[in-house]
Symmetry: C2
Subunit: 243 residues, 2 copies
């Protein structure tokens, strides 16, 4: 019934436009009573995006089950749940993208949904980073970066008419975020930087003071090649900070 209503609604939106389609039109096309519509959808807008609630629930469940070893990786994978929802039905996703661009009310609705995804990701990161210090700040900024990267990849695919595999563009975009936030790139990203990931080899930084005025001082760092870049940066910062 839910699916039948969503399909009827979407056909009418494409035929007549979103604004000119009423809930009465939708239930007439679907052959059901008016109350059935509101049993499934709070508003016309919700019928355009019938899967976001399920997707948000799935994301929440996924994050609750994620281990603590790699929070940025976990929220990146959680974002991929949204991508798969779009990729499961390319034709519908592309038509909806075009419709959404033309209807301000749908764009606004979509912004609120995106914001809810972002808050879900930020909530997870906050729970892992802690509220103290920059925990909450980092959580919000990284969640915003992940969402922007995901949406950039998704949008490229939607604009291309849903051709090919959207995961390629999204993986590439998410790798850029991981890189910026000081973590090794995901192994699925062929565009990752050349630093091998996930090595536990220690960095051994040490500072050599070359002069009393601070100008000529140098830092000498020795690291195994497998060392992730985030650890290199962390250790250099620690060494420089101590001096």
């Amino acid at each position: 019934m839910r699916e039948v209503l969503a399909q009827a609604a979407f056909q009418l939106f494409l035929e007549r436009g979103f604004e000119r389609t009423t809930v009465d039109d939708i239930v007439a096309r679907a052959g059901v009573g008016r109350r059935s519509f509101f049993r499934y959808f709070p508003s016309k807008e919700d019928a355009v995006f019938p899967d976001h609630e399920r997707c948000l629930a799935e994301m929440t469940e996924f994050l609750a089950a994620a281990d603590d070893s790699d929070p940025v990786g976990a929220v990146s994978d959680a974002a991929r749940i949204v991508l798969r929802m779009y990729a499961a039905n390319p034709e519908f996703s592309v038509q909806r993208y075009r419709l959404t661009r033309e209807v301000p009310g749908l764009r606004t609705y979509e912004l609120s949904v995106v914001r809810r995804y972002e808050q879900t990701l930020a909530g997870h990161l906050r729970s892992r980073f802690g509220e103290d210090g920059d925990g909450a700040l980092r959580a919000e900024v990284i969640a915003a970066s992940v969402v922007a990267a995901h949406n950039n990849g998704l949008r490229l695919w939607l604009r291309s008419g849903g051709e090919g595999d959207p995961e390629v563009a999204v993986d590439h975009a998410l790798a850029l975020v991981r890189e910026a936030w000081g973590r090794p790139a995901a192994s699925t990203a062929s565009t990752a930087p050349a630093v091998p990931e996930a090595s536990t080899a220690p960095v051994v930084p040490f500072a050599v003071s070359g002069g009393g005025d601070g100008d000529g001082e140098v830092v000498v760092m020795v690291a195994r090649k497998g060392t992730p870049m985030w650890r290199v940066v962390q250790q250099i910062e620690a060494a420089v900070g101590e001096n």
Copy 2:
């Protein structure tokens, strides 16, 4: 007139609630005709945020005049224009923040405004980074990071009741973004990492191959202490990538 209408509207929203206040109530309180309201504001929501259009225009003008030397710095400074608009009237900003949290329609309106700021910043970065390669992607992700960081600092200040200087929290948040995106921290940020900024001293990285299987290889890097972290990372990546 515009100011009078905005004040009358806001007083009524606080007294009666946003939903229960009509445009007729507002013009009656302001002592003007109904058409005057719509001459200044397209909707009730716009009267709650009377300064965003001016602020967007100022941001666009500021970015158009920015030089090309530091695009991330330019969009960070552009975001501070929004902060100053809030900081110019702490009591109004705090009351509006509380009102917005209670009225879903205002939250949605605010999301669209935030999105327009983000698109303005992304547009500037895109024009500087270029559309090729990762230019557009980086532009969108950095714009989203800047907006999230700005809003985190702004929200801290609003939640505290508008006490103190909001620039401190926002500068700190924006410094985190600059750090993540491989640029030296802004000099206004006292919380910047200990690496001195803007040094032109070169990094001299070189790789020493310690074995044929790649496992035992190490990277030895020598850098002047004034070298910005983004350059250190760039050079290490370049050195590791060559091997």
